[in-house]
């Protein structure tokens, strides 16, 4: 077989393939890595989960290790995130976006974008953890939209906007407009909580 006139490309770009086959900064079993902060996002039920450990020196990410349960693009995107993040200041690292990871990988299929690029969120969680553990103020947290529905990548800012504009007043509205809570459903209570909060803030209740 394989004597066709048609030979397709691999599923993902060569960079993704390279990171999938040779993941960088993987948290190896038994390795002596003492993280200053650890963050974990996603869930096994959603099919993607990431854990990131960071070492911080002089306000910069000096080293990083990660583990990922997920598909090839999840593995590759966490690996790429680790390469981008090491050497960054905490502030830069906090603002690392999924787009930066994706473009460094040479692109990902559209449907892979939301579900598999969670590395940046795990990194933020690790930075939050580091700051909290060391009793340091966290000047970044409030400025960044927080993902509430991880499966569909729906943020608190999105929910806030929809409530503010009066477009969403019930959980069903939000689910219909953003797709939130339509996959694993684990975020349902947090969505309702955020919804109720914003309804109160914007006088929609």
């Amino acid at each position: 077989m394989q004597n066709n006139s048609f030979m397709a490309q691999w599923v993902y770009t060569d960079t993704v393939k390279d990171h999938f086959m040779n993941p960088r900064n993987l948290w190896k079993e038994g390795e002596d890595f003492q993280p200053d902060g650890v963050g974990e996002v996603g869930s096994l039920a959603c099919g993607d989960q990431m854990r990131v450990g960071i070492k911080v020196r002089d306000g910069k990410i000096s080293d990083l290790r990660w583990l990922t349960y997920g598909c090839a693009s999840a593995i590759a995107s966490t690996s790429m995130m680790s390469e981008l993040a090491v050497g960054m200041s905490l502030e830069e690292a906090y603002h690392l976006t999924p787009q930066m990871i994706t473009s460094a990988l040479g692109g990902l299929p559209e449907h892979k974008f939301h579900c598999s690029v969670l590395g940046d969120k795990a990194l933020r969680a690790a930075i939050d953890d580091y700051l909290e553990k060391n009793g340091l103020p966290n000047p970044y947290k409030t400025k960044v939209a927080k993902i509430i529905c991880e499966c569909k990548g729906v943020t608190d800012v999105q929910i806030e906007e929809l409530v503010k504009e009066g477009k969403a007043l019930t959980f069903e509205d939000l689910s219909r407009l953003t797709g939130c809570s339509t996959a694993c459903g684990k975020c349902r209570n947090r969505i309702i909580e955020a919804l109720e909060d914003f309804k109160h803030i914007y006088g929609k209740d």
């Binding site: 077989m1 394989q2 599923v11 999938f20 086959m21 993941p23 993987l26 190896k28 079993e29 974990e40 096994l44 039920a45 959603c46 099919g47 993607d48 989960q49 990431m50 854990r51 583990l67 990922t68 349960y69 997920g70 598909c71 090839a72 693009s73 999840a74 593995i75 299929p109 449907h111 892979k112 579900c115 598999s116 499966c151 569909k152 339509t182 996959a183 694993c184």
Partner: protein
């Protein structure tokens, strides 16, 4: 790439050498099988022969065989017939099916429900087998059609279709079975199964793609499903695809002739693979019914390892399989078949389906048993949850 091992025969099969050869030998059979002249008559003879072969394969009369583009069309057609009957005022207005059917039924059910039709799904047990007690509860004199597949494409679980037919007929309902995965692997007789309708696709049993059969028992209702010509007694218009139909005829002839041999060979390979996996990889779960199982299907879950990653590492070694993981489908939900059998979501994400065919060898299986354990170990070593 050194080796290429195709273990995705439930998705589609390679055409048999005999099928390729009959299609090549009849390349000049381009006449319109409905034409009166010699060229047309010859094409008609080929189509007629193929119809006879397909009828024999499923123990039917050739008048009961309708050519379609494949099982998806056949399945859609059966539900359209039911819809037509309901729309024309049938007292029976309910359809009973299951949650583990092929997407061509699952999606048709969703569509019909959105139009207000009443459709119930029978429960399946933890081995992926439709529960007879659940079918029994759902029967009633308002049931028009019961549709349950013969063997499942993901788990390989063979369904108790003959018993379900009996229950359906006891309450006067019609019985359909999608036998696409079973044909050529286990004996399929419409008489033994008690099927009023049956669907199949040639490409699942070493025939060409884009051609299949809808069997309709003589006594069962049928309506024109493609309008515009007198082909298939006016029920399914469109010029015959002579070569594909003749190819399917040859595939049907071979399937009828070889079914026992094929069954035993596939089961021996499957068991070799299953034992090799269980003995060489810790913590694996074999899905589906191990007693009533299509011989070539082996569905395995690897806790703490995600299916798409496993699939793609195998692909890099030249081994072609499929997965129930959401990641491979573009949706966010893993295999609905495995979930319906009560499998944990994580285990559904971590499932791999090996489906063997007649062109696989023991060496192929041994190669998989050599390559798979380090891949699973590797994926697990990267995983957030380690076993």
């Amino acid at each position: 790439m050194n080796r290429f091992i195709y273990l995705d025969n439930n998705a589609t099969t390679q055409m048999a050498a005999e099928v390729e050869s009959i299609m090549r030998d009849n390349e000049s059979l381009y006449g319109n099988a409905s034409s009166m002249h010699a060229m047309g008559r010859n094409a008609g003879a080929g189509v007629d022969w193929a119809r006879q072969m397909c009828a024999q394969l499923i123990d039917a009369d050739k008048e009961e065989v309708y050519f379609t583009s494949g099982a998806s069309e056949s399945n859609n057609t059966v539900f359209n017939i039911a819809r037509e009957l309901i729309d024309s005022g049938s007292k029976r207005t309910r359809i009973v099916t299951s949650a583990i059917e092929h997407p061509s039924i699952i999606e048709t059910v969703k569509y019909l429900r959105s139009k207000g039709y009443r459709i119930d799904e029978a429960e399946v047990d933890s081995t992926g087998m439709v529960r007879l007690d659940s079918i029994r509860k759902l029967m009633g004199d308002d049931v028009l059609l019961v549709s349950i597949m013969t063997g499942n494409n993901e788990t390989g679980t063979i369904q108790p279709v003959a018993e379900i037919s009996r229950l359906a007929h006891e309450c006067g309902a019609l019985m359909h079975t999608d036998a696409t995965q079973a044909i050529g692997k286990i004996p399929v007789s419409v008489k033994q199964l008690g099927a009023d309708y049956l669907s199949m696709s040639a490409h699942k049993f070493y025939g060409p793609k884009g051609v299949g059969v809808l069997y309709v028992r003589k006594s069962a209702p049928v309506f024109p499903f493609v309008h515009g010509g007198h082909q298939e007694k006016g029920y399914r218009a469109g010029t015959y695809n002579n070569l594909a139909i003749v190819g399917m005829g040859e595939a049907a002839r071979l399937a009828a002739q070889d079914v026992q041999k094929e069954h035993d060979y596939l089961w021996s390979l499957r068991e070799r693979l299953r034992k090799g996996i269980v003995e060489n990889i810790p913590d694996v779960i074999i899905n589906g019914n191990q007693e009533h199982c299509l011989p070539g299907t082996l569905n395995v879950s690897f806790p703490s390892a995600e299916g798409e990653s496993i699939l793609l590492y195998l692909d890099l070694e030249g081994i072609e399989v499929s997965t129930g993981s959401a990641c491979a489908t573009g949706s966010l939900e893993p295999s609905y078949v495995l979930l319906a059998s009560g499998l944990d979501v994580e285990l559904a994400h971590g499932s791999i389906r090996f489906s063997l065919g007649r062109y696989n060898t023991q060496e192929d299986v041994d190669y998989v048993i050599e390559k798979l354990p380090p891949i699973i170990a590797r994926v697990r070593s990267m995983s957030t949850r380690k076993v």
